[in-house]
Symmetry: C2
Subunit: 530 residues, 2 copies
């Protein structure tokens, strides 16, 4: 009998962990169940894997999104069978729209147990497919390595994909001596075809009503700087989609406006567009349809040119366009003052706390290098234009309209960019979907300041209701829109999860609290009653 006899054998689950680590995945956002116990046991044998618990799966998937947006590489999730995956789908939907790479590991029953239709059994593939680019199943314990390597490769395929691997319990617990698949460099995004770039450049050179719509990787400072050179050379307008995974904004960076959420405003902004050149973006459409209003936000006859698809090299495409239009140097572009955000005296707000004075305080106090996670919905619309003049920061948004992303996103972003301050601008109604994420922030001691816009209603629905022409909300509609009976006490909710919290009802108090929160070790929440 060997001296190792008491050690458990290496299992398929060990092979999974080894493969994930070998392929650069070292964060596991998890909410495990019984069918994942052998996976957890394997994680226990891999201290290099950082395991982060979410107390609801929307926290798990939203945090994996935030992590990858900042770290630039995927985390894995650990989800418990179909219902566990289902709970995480809404934030996977947002991540999919953000082109975030994520590797989901969904534990399932042992293969031979499926025929019994045990209580937790369900059609996991049918649930996974709408929010995944790739769905696979482990074929055997020995095959777990290749399946995991494929999942990681799918996830990092440009521009970033959701890969869901269903892990059978018996493949996790059975012994395997199979080697870890070799890591190969991830696929890179190709440059667009020259003919497409030529057509786009020709439109830009016509200098007549051309909009350059930038998305994805091009919204970082370097991409925006190239876009500014093109704009300075051709007079084109620069725009970004309404919602973006990550934009580098603030002082010294290019002030790029977004297509508005409100249909009439979007139509007005794009009314004079003769040519739309897409770089990693899709042509703008209405977030929702409204009776009698168009679905496309483009004027009739507007020409649409695709300089780069989302899965092509947008940054490379911008450089190619700059060359083709004869764009000047950075200095030339920088001289085009209106393009770059310059220093302004940002006064501290006084008096009533409103969405606007709150934004003023955040902009004035935001530390350099902060990460702003914005799920402020209707209340945060003042922040975007003001924050061009804030310190340089990363700006992360909810991308798929599935509310409940803000708190988890911030949690993951803090883990993906250690040492940086995170500020969450969070609508109260949306915050309630995934408030459990505050507990993870406390557990992991994350430097996240959550600002709750506490207006005690689904404010956006009040507005949308009026749009229907049904008049002012009656008893049933108020019952469905208002959160004031009882009012949510966010200070109590945060403290209940171990997060320090205070309430602000004036601009001065908010400004003081926000400044103090930024000095606070670990997470802090401010309920801003607006």
């Amino acid at each position: 009998m060997s001296s190792n006899a008491a050690l458990p054998p290496r299992t398929g689950a060990d092979l999974l962990c080894e493969t994930l680590l070998a392929h650069g995945v070292d964060h596991c956002f998890a909410n495990p169940g019984t069918s994942e116990m052998h996976f957890v046991a394997a994680l226990d044998r891999q201290p290099r894997m950082r395991c982060v618990l979410g107390l609801a799966e929307g926290v798990v998937t939203g945090a994996a999104d935030g992590y990858a947006r900042m770290a630039g590489r995927p985390a894995c999730t650990l989800l418990h069978t179909g219902p566990g995956l289902a709970n995480g789908l809404a934030n996977l939907h947002n991540a999919k729209r953000a082109h975030t790479p994520i590797v989901n590991i969904v534990g399932d029953h042992a293969t031979y147990h499926l025929e019994h239709d045990a209580p937790l059994a369900s059609d996991i593939e049918s649930l996974a497919r709408p929010m995944s680019h790739w769905v696979g199943r482990t074929p055997s314990a020995d095959g777990v390595g290749a399946a995991a390597a494929t999942a990681v490769r799918e996830a990092v395929t440009p521009p970033g994909r959701i890969a869901t691997l269903i892990l059978a319990a018996d493949h996790a617990w059975s012994a395997s001596a199979a080697p870890v698949p070799a890591h190969s460099p991830p696929p890179t995004a190709p440059l667009p075809a020259a003919a497409e770039l030529d057509r786009a450049a020709a439109a830009l050179k016509r200098r007549r009503g051309t909009v350059l719509l930038l998305a994805g990787r091009t919204l970082r400072a370097d991409g925006l700087a190239v876009a500014a050179r093109i704009a300075a050379a051709t007079g084109c307008r620069l725009l970004a989609p309404q919602a973006n995974a990550r934009v580098e904004r603030g002082l010294g960076r290019v002030m790029i406006d977004r297509v508005p959420y409100v249909v009439d405003k979007a139509l007005a902004m794009l009314a004079d567009t003769a040519s739309l050149v897409l770089v990693g973006a899709k042509a703008p459409v209405g977030f929702f349809a409204y009776p009698g209003k168009p679905g496309s936000m483009l004027p009739a006859g507007c020409e649409v040119l695709t300089a780069a698809r989302p899965d092509e090299d947008g940054l490379g495409a911008l450089h190619e366009l700059a060359t083709r239009v004869g764009a000047g140097s950075d200095a030339v572009a920088a001289a085009a003052k209106p393009l770059f955000a310059t220093k302004r005296d940002l006064p501290l707000p006084t008096g009533a706390l409103t969405a606007s004075t709150l934004a003023q305080a955040v902009v004035a106090r935001l530390p350099e290098g902060a990460i702003v996670c914005d799920e402020s919905v209707s209340s945060g619309r003042d922040f975007f234009p003001m924050s061009w003049h804030a310190a340089p920061h990363d700006y992360l948004q909810i991308t798929g309209g599935a509310i409940g992303l803000g708190i988890p996103l911030a949690t993951g972003a803090a883990l993906g960019a250690p040492g940086r301050r995170v500020v969450t601008l969070q609508a109260d109604g949306s915050a309630m979907y995934t408030l459990q994420g505050l507990w993870t922030q406390a557990r992991e001691r994350l430097p996240v300041v959550t600002v709750i816009f506490s207006n005690r209603r689904y404010a956006i629905l009040h507005g949308e209701y009026v749009q229907t022409g049904a008049g002012t909300p009656g008893a049933n509609a108020r019952q469905l829109f208002n959160l004031d009976d009882p009012a949510l006490d966010w200070v109590a909710l945060a403290r209940g999860m171990g997060v320090g919290a205070e309430r602000a009802e004036t601009a001065e108090r908010f400004t003081d609290l926000f400044g103090a929160a930024l000095e606070h070790e670990g997470p802090f929440l401010i309920e801003a009653v607006i």
Copy 2:
């Protein structure tokens, strides 16, 4: 111009509300979004429809489950596009396993907007199908009525089904003068074929190792009384599945045991079974598979007879079996003392608060007619055997293993059985999935007492981990199982949502608090630190 010119026209959404009401659906559990605004406007014109807001969709669907289990007829849900449905799927999974009738209304984009792949678009059918028996789409504004009538009919088809109707925004907002479809009586469950009943009766009459496994409707007092007559006549054993939608229990009722969750215990309990007669039940299988353990809980050679399928008339089948085996009267059965729960002196517990002393206090204090919603997971295993001697009550369980049902289920049960007290036995880890339901309890002033078993860990996973043979949990496993860093403060969490709350750390304190909470108007929560 008519004097009605200012009134909005009757829409497809109005037709939907009228149809739901005409077909007996008058509770709408909702979390709406923009694409459902015209539906909300129509609800506003129907004060007979009670609209109940859930601040996360898991609350919405879990409450619809609890409502129907008590009211005996379906509520509808109102969910916002694919992600809103996704958030509600886990509790729909439980409801599907419970055979609960539910009509889901899922709002979708306008039909002509789908081609734009707007941010919230997803494959709703693929998401809905695993947790629905029926999925349909509205065909037009005029067709909304027939579609809704079909959905209700599907939902009330025995033994109860999940029907999901996808409502296109343009069908909701377009004018319709179509009539409300006539209400026809719901389909009834047929009696099983005589040959099946004969075979089952023959097995019972052999009087040798026969188990009568009862599920569904037969677990109410009347069904159990018939089963007791059969047991008294044939000596068969009565059993129920591990998890059940609703059992009538307590003093004077038949003491029916359940198949244990733990595989070895289930195997031991069923070891001597020669014949298993199913009445609305499925043959028992392991909740999960474990290495080297069987999936079926039945001994080799056990004969399985189906006296009634779940969609057949189980109560009628029991009466038929009673006749065939020559069962005596109720009085004869009642004389068979061990079958019926009799009055016992239930002492109030003292000293340390444990899962056991807690159960003792609940059993002693439970008011007659209470509804117990049990999601206590591993901590609540003492309650079931003790509560045979509690006052008569309804006992509702989590049926599909998707945790996060308890608080929503209680919320809906209170609305489905007005005037009755509801007691939720709630594990802390599971409570965190859908704690938002406490707010709905406060808003609706529901008489629900929530008891949180606060052991600050996923206790069941500690046990399951040890089963894997991996030894004691290491750093990563503890990180995924323990909820003690920081400890959740349930008193703060409940108060943050407007629910009164206190903490108990001794049996005496718990007993006092529980008694007071039962007198309290509206909801109350007790954090029981065990």
